[in-house]
């Protein structure tokens, strides 16, 4: 067993768990935060995406005990019914889901992805590595390729992200 302190959505949470516990299992099974979803449990689907110290990661591929003192943001920390984040509202407006299982991961991933664009990180489809990062549909698809949607709501997801990004800029 290992004691770990996490700051989750601004709140300090203590955890005592087997060293094998992934961050995802800690969130869902130990701390009652079931917004982050377990899809493949192997980093292939992105349903478990959360932000750690502001960066999006697959919470299924990291151990909770490795994150002592880290700031974790889950979908629960982004907004709530009646007080949705701009991205959450845009997903509702554009019907950016069907079954909804991948949606928390999509929204956490997109939230952090928009910050990566603001920081001017290039992507595999950027024509120039040193120019300004642009939010074209092609860039959104490439940068969101770590989040699969089995219902294939991709066009609506891209529209939702685009609108939320334009509204915030």
């Amino acid at each position: 067993m290992k004691d770990t302190t996490l700051r989750i959505n601004g709140e300090e949470r203590k955890l005592s768990a087997d060293t094998r516990t992934t961050l995802l299992d800690a969130l869902r099974n130990h701390l009652g935060l079931t917004g982050s979803k377990k899809g493949c449990d192997h980093g292939q689907c992105g349903a478990c995406t959360v932000m750690v110290n502001g960066r999006r990661i697959n919470s299924c591929l990291t151990l909770a005990c490795m994150h002592d003192g880290d700031e974790i943001t889950t979908v629960e920390g982004l907004g709530e019914p009646g007080n949705l984040s701009p991205l959450q509202a845009a997903f509702v407006k554009h019907d950016g889901f069907q079954c909804g299982y991948c949606t928390p991961g999509q929204i956490c991933s997109a939230t952090a992805m928009l910050e990566e664009i603001k920081d001017n990180w290039p992507s595999n489809v950027s024509g120039s590595l040193t120019g300004e990062a642009k939010l074209t549909p092609e860039e959104i698809s490439e940068r969101m390729s770590g989040n699969l949607c089995r219902c294939a709501a991709y066009p609506n997801i891209v529209d939702a992200i685009r609108e939320a990004a334009e509204a915030s800029s």
Partner: protein
Amino acid sequence: MRPFDYYRSDDPADAVKAASEKGTLFIAGGTNLLDLMKLDLMTPNRLIDINRIGLDEITPSDDGGLSIGTLVTNSDCAADMRIRQDYAVLSRAILAGASGQLRNKATTGGNLCQRTRCYYFYDPDMACNKRKPGSGCSAIGGANRIHAILGASDECIATYPGDMAVAMAALDAEVVIEGQGGDTRTVPVRDFHRLPGDQPDRDNILESGDLITHVTLPAPAKGRHIYRKVRDRASYAFALVSIAAVVEMDAGKIASASLAFGGLAHKPWHDPAIDDLLTGEAPSEALFDKAADILLADAKGQGQNDFKIPLTRRTLKAVLREATGERS
């Protein structure tokens, strides 16, 4: 996942010391190691968490190059303005691999140690000499679409799956390793990974308890930097064939060329004879075909991956056309 002891180190020397015990592994990003541990394909008794030992910066080196700390994430490396401007092939290669989430966790040293994606390596019910020496190779005569066409052995036809190391091989980067005796040694990336031979369980030259501390890039290579990756889908897939190329032109001739290839072998493939052939010559289709002849002279398909031989030729020619042609 099997139980293991967990120890968090805060200093490189302490981490190396802590790794002296057999069955100990370092964990950095963990994106490959934990994936394999969940399937009981890797079963360390002890994990040394090295995420807080420092070594997470990119600093200028004395010879005009850069020294990349082993814990620099793939995202930070690809986004570093010095890498983007002077080592574009490396940024391009990293950005061609994995997903945004994985690149945020994956580290420079860890990515070098990424293990193969051979289907049989991942399936404990199948024979695999890499996973269980002496058990056989199910990929030979099996599903081998993604497997090696160069440098394979009768015991293993797996490929090294990464992109970053292919660009580092083209750039002739070096891996700095701290060993158990406290000694530091430097190995070219081109010699870091092994061919399978009769020891396919060994992916690279690391000895037990070795810690990669840095990867050093030589002074920037002039010319066009290209990373071309051919894969089954447009994003988030491993290479069938990839090519890292740094080619400088001067007065219509190739002044220098450095090429490395991914997806073809158990290691990033570099053949100095190709670079030598191209250097000093005027670009032509005949020259590009000759380069492909050298690369593929000993190529051997395994059935399902036979297509990789003509695909590699076409990809190489396309890359050389782009590297030597007029700028669009």
